[in-house]
């Protein structure tokens, strides 16, 4: 196809006015990278807040570049509130919100959302259930009507409960095909134990799924879905007054209620380092998870841990990725993270390793996990990690969904809304000694759980020869394998 003439002509005219500033190529000094100007300052979008009479807290961030609006409701109905006998209830209830609400059936809700060009999602994480909407500004009103139906007036029809329950059973069956999902479920169960809220499978088990019914869903919904346990974030092409008016008209009548407080749970004592092998015959790779219980989001060491993890496994040039991928070629990528939640979440280092190199890769994993404790981080590496975090922050606020993600975290964990104003100086204040201190405090290689999902017949001998601990055999749920 042909470019429009008019645009090309306009462009040519503009370019003719430019000075000819090109240096001859031979004068380019390639011997060292260019010296860069000072970085731009972070511009964090402003947050405004309001509270409705029923206790619903509203935060609004204006972003007017593109006529879209992103709405997130964070409800205190996460998987931590799952009853002990029914893991998976929180995620199931969140999913059921969309299967019938107000006068609409499941298919009507899906049809209406798509017709409005709206992405409507409901789900449950560990610490909160979320209901979210991403929609062109022009359809915001009717899309909020739909969201309000789903959150305030779900009908939970028996037929839909049965339908979703059956679908979930098939999906749980399919987890057996997904070694990454298997490794994550097994790792959580092994590290936290089956009774801790972070040790249970978020999507439930075969047994718990079979036991789901309307009464349990309704009880859970009525107990936990309340305005006074909910925070709402609106980001995009709206003003506070406009958002307040739209939200109050739809969510103002939502009745308060006394929700049970989020559970407290004590972490189980860490076992001595062991290898937990989940057999996956024929697997081309071994999926590896190494770690233990880490820290909560409220940790005073947040910034030092951010820097630590960036160095260890949080970026492409991190030690784990450089070693396992770029030096040895054992994997397509290796990484680590401290998952910080209301309660202490896991620290976990991860990779998928070519089967024949499973043992060699574990040697390198352990080498890096010990080295970052034993040796202070060199200044250049520290500086690079701090720059990567602090200079990369502005990009996190580019899109409505990006900004929503950043501020949801503050709302979810009761952090002040001006948090990002001091983020960069606090990262920049982290020293090599801080990094080593938190590495020693929060990484305890003597008590790592090393979970490997792979072909036992090919990797077991190599794992035994490592002498990194006894081998225990587990199933995909992390339970003792028969």
């Amino acid at each position: 196809m042909i470019a429009p003439r008019s645009r090309l002509l306009v462009t040519a005219a503009l370019l003719a006015a430019l000075p000819s500033a090109a240096l001859p190529a031979q004068e380019v000094d390639r011997s060292h990278p260019p010296t860069l100007p000072p970085p731009p300052t972070l511009r964090v979008p402003a947050v405004e807040t309001a509270t409705l009479p029923n206790g619903l807290e509203l935060a609004v961030i204006e972003m007017h570049k593109v006529p879209v609006v992103d709405v997130t409701l964070l409800v205190g109905a996460g998987t931590v509130s799952d009853p002990d006998d029914l893991p998976g209830l929180a995620t199931f209830t969140a999913n059921m919100l969309q299967q019938g609400a107000g006068s609409r059936g499941a298919l009507d809700i899906a049809d209406e959302a798509a017709y409005l060009g709206a992405s409507l999602n409901t789900g449950a994480g560990f610490d909160a259930a979320t209901a979210s909407l991403h929609v062109p500004k022009r359809r915001l009103g009717p899309a909020l009507d739909l969201l309000a139906d789903v959150v305030l007036r779900p009908t939970f029809p028996d037929t839909e409960i049965a339908r979703q329950r059956d679908l979930r059973r098939a999906q749980i069956l399919q987890q057996r095909d997904q070694p990454v999902a298997m490794a994550n479920v097994a790792f959580a169960a092994i590290v936290f134990g089956a009774t801790h809220p972070y040790g249970r499978p978020a999507s439930g088990t075969e047994t718990s799924t079979a036991a789901l019914n309307r009464d349990r869903v309704l009880q859970f919904y009525q107990a936990y879905y309340r305005p006074n346990t909910t925070r709402m974030l609106v980001v995009g092409d709206v003003t506070l007054n406009e958002a307040k008016r739209l939200v109050a008209a739809r969510f103002g009548g939502w009745a308060r209620g006394e929700a049970p407080p989020p559970p407290t749970a004590s972490a189980p004592a860490a076992a001595a380092r062991s290898i937990y092998l989940v057999d996956k015959p024929g697997a081309a790779q071994s999926v590896v998870r190494i770690g233990q219980i880490g820290v909560s989001r409220a940790t005073p060491d947040f910034f030092a841990l951010e820097v630590l993890n960036t160095i260890l496994g949080g970026s492409f040039t991190s030690r784990l990725n450089q070693n396992l991928r770029e030096t040895h070629g054992y994997t397509y990528g290796a990484n680590s993270q401290f998952a910080m939640r209301r309660l202490a979440g896991p620290f976990v280092a991860s990779a998928s390793i070519v089967t024949a190199k499973t043992d060699s890769a574990l040697i390198e994993f352990m080498r890096e996990l010990r080295r970052i404790r034993d040796e202070a981080v060199p200044q250049a590496e520290l500086a690079k990690a701090k720059a990567y975090i602090s200079l990369g922050l502005p990009a996190e606020f580019e899109t409505t969904q990006g900004a929503a993600r950043q501020f949801s975290n503050l709302l979810l964990y009761d952090l002040p809304l001006d948090y990002y104003g001091t983020y960069i100086p606090r990262i920049n204040a982290v020293t090599a000694a801080d990094v080593q201190r938190v590495a020693r405090q929060y990484l305890d290689p003597d008590h790592f759980a090393i979970v490997v999902v792979g072909d036992r017949s090919k990797i077991e001998a190599g794992l035994q020869a490592l002498h990194e601990g006894p081998i225990a055999y587990r199933d995909m749920w992390g339970q003792i394998a028969p």
Partner: protein, 469 residues
């Protein structure tokens, strides 16, 4: 777009990949927007042939450099499948003035990120970072465009060969149904068609790649005249142009790239095949040959795909998953590249159901659309969702599927970088009668490849010719 076959360099998290696929797979909206979609740009071309497109967006102090080399897996020669993607990995292994590892080290130290990906048609590279990092990005990209070969040694090729082979294991071999696509392609396209093999390539061919292949590929395709670079974000043309001239002006133009037109594709009869895999549940794939991207029927075929299987209100989801409850999931989409396109439907059975049951319902729904067409509301619903997707893709400048990447996409496929509104208009013009005609001509009356992926030892679950259709 060729989203289903994009192969990434790395790094991306699962969520990141899912997002990128989503962004590329759907298509960029305006009845929902008050004004027309516009991405203003300015362009210039260096004497060596490098075309540069500059888009200013001052909303956030970041910049992205997005370079498309007009080479992909369809430029590979027999026995070297997967090579274009392996080459993409080598582009991060250092160049004459940038020692191995420094590309990433320097960028991260400046607050930047990067990645690359390969499809059948093109290979793209991007760097994102604070606006202050622009000159560094241009320094790094120009060095690997002009001075790569002195630094590429056999051990570096071996190392990235290992990484890529692990990518194949992680993303294909160790994924349920992960080998379906390559089994479909080899049956849909004749052996001498350049879409006959998957972008990731075969293990055997990856093993055969040599340093001489790298040298020849670089000299042929990795030249300024075979690339287009978009610089976008909080920068100005006045700032960008002198820097581009400084760093890229001295690089030598490459030879003109010539390509043989692909052979005609025809399926004289339906092709049935069964693949045994380590899966719990069987899945059936129907694939038809269609048209290339931006051909007159391309947008209508995308709308057809969404009417069939996008969301719970779609026809196949409603029948297979919701009402009959014989499938766990279903998908349908037009997948169109620069040279050619295909239409695919796949559905996964629930326990206790075989693929003939699913295939029968798929055929009924295709026939119903071909005979009666969709309702106006169905078409409008799909158009509204597509339009919202266009709008969503106006928010981000960089990475896969951001504005810079889309400017390069349109420039390469249709020759006009700011084609956003006209692309959306293609979808808005689709009428129910068009969808009906497309279902009839491209699906109902055409032959297809039917691939059944079944649990090992359970070929009795496969779709069989004549049983259903």
């Amino acid at each position: 777009m060729k989203a289903a076959v994009t192969v990434w360099r790395s790094g991306a998290t699962a969520a990141g990949i899912a997002l990128a696929v989503l962004l590329l797979a759907a298509v960029p909206p305006t009845r929902l927007a008050a004004q027309a979609l516009r991405v203003p740009y300015q362009t210039f071309t260096l004497p060596n042939g490098l075309k540069v497109i500059v888009h200013e967006d001052h909303s956030v102090p970041i910049v992205t450099v997005n370079t498309w080399y007009h080479v992909g897996s369809s430029d590979e020669r027999p026995g070297r499948t997967g090579f274009a993607h392996l080459f993409e990995h080598l582009m991060f292994m250092g160049s004459e003035h940038v020692p191995t590892g420094q590309f990433d080290q320097l960028l991260e130290a400046a607050g930047g990120d990067n990645n690359g990906s390969t499809t059948e048609d093109r290979t793209n590279y991007w760097e994102n970072g604070p606006s202050s990092s622009l000159e560094l990005m241009l320094y790094l990209d120009s060095d690997r465009m002009g001075f790569l070969l002195p630094e590429i040694t056999p051990p570096k090729v071996d190392l990235q060969r290992g990484v890529v082979q692990n990518e194949r294991r992680q993303s294909y071999e160790n994924q349920p149904y992960g080998l379906a696509q390559e089994n479909i392609l080899q049956r849909l396209y004749p052996a001498d068609h350049t879409y006959h093999w998957p972008v990731i390539g075969s293990m055997v061919d990856l093993n055969a790649a040599s340093i001489e292949d790298v040298q020849q590929f670089s000299r042929t395709y990795y030249t300024p005249s075979n690339a287009t670079m978009v610089v976008a974000g909080d920068v100005t043309l006045r700032q960008v142009r002198p820097l581009v001239e400084r760093y890229f002006g001295g690089l030598a133009r490459g030879p003109a790239v010539t390509r043989t037109p692909p052979p005609a594709v025809s399926l004289p009869a339906d092709v049935y095949a069964t693949l045994e895999d380590r899966v719990q549940l069987p899945r059936v794939y129907d694939t038809w040959h269609t048209v290339k991207g931006f051909a007159p029927d391309d947008a209508g075929l995308e709308v057809l795909g969404d009417i069939l299987a996008e969301g719970k209100a779609s026809r196949l989801y409603k029948r297979l998953v919701y009402e009959l409850q014989i499938a766990t999931q279903v998908a349908a989409f037009q997948d169109a590249g620069r040279i050619d396109g295909k239409f695919e439907i796949f559905a996964t059975a629930r326990p206790g159901h075989d693929l003939n049951e699913l295939a029968r319902v798929i055929d009924e729904e295709v026939r119903s659309l071909a005979e009666s067409g969709p309702t106006p509301r169905e078409v409008e619903r799909v158009q509204n969702s597509i339009e919202a997707g266009f709008l969503g893709r106006m928010e981000r400048v960089g990475s896969f599927g951001g504005k810079a990447d889309q400017l390069n996409y349109y420039d390469y496929l249709v020759g006009t970088p700011d084609y956003f509104q006209r692309d959306l208009d293609r979808f808005r013009r689709v009428r129910p009668a068009d969808v009906q005609r497309l279902a009839r001509d491209y699906l109902l009356r055409a032959h297809r490849v039917v691939l059944s992926v079944v649990p090992a030892g359970h070929t009795e679950l496969a779709a069989t010719e004549g049983a259903s259709r």
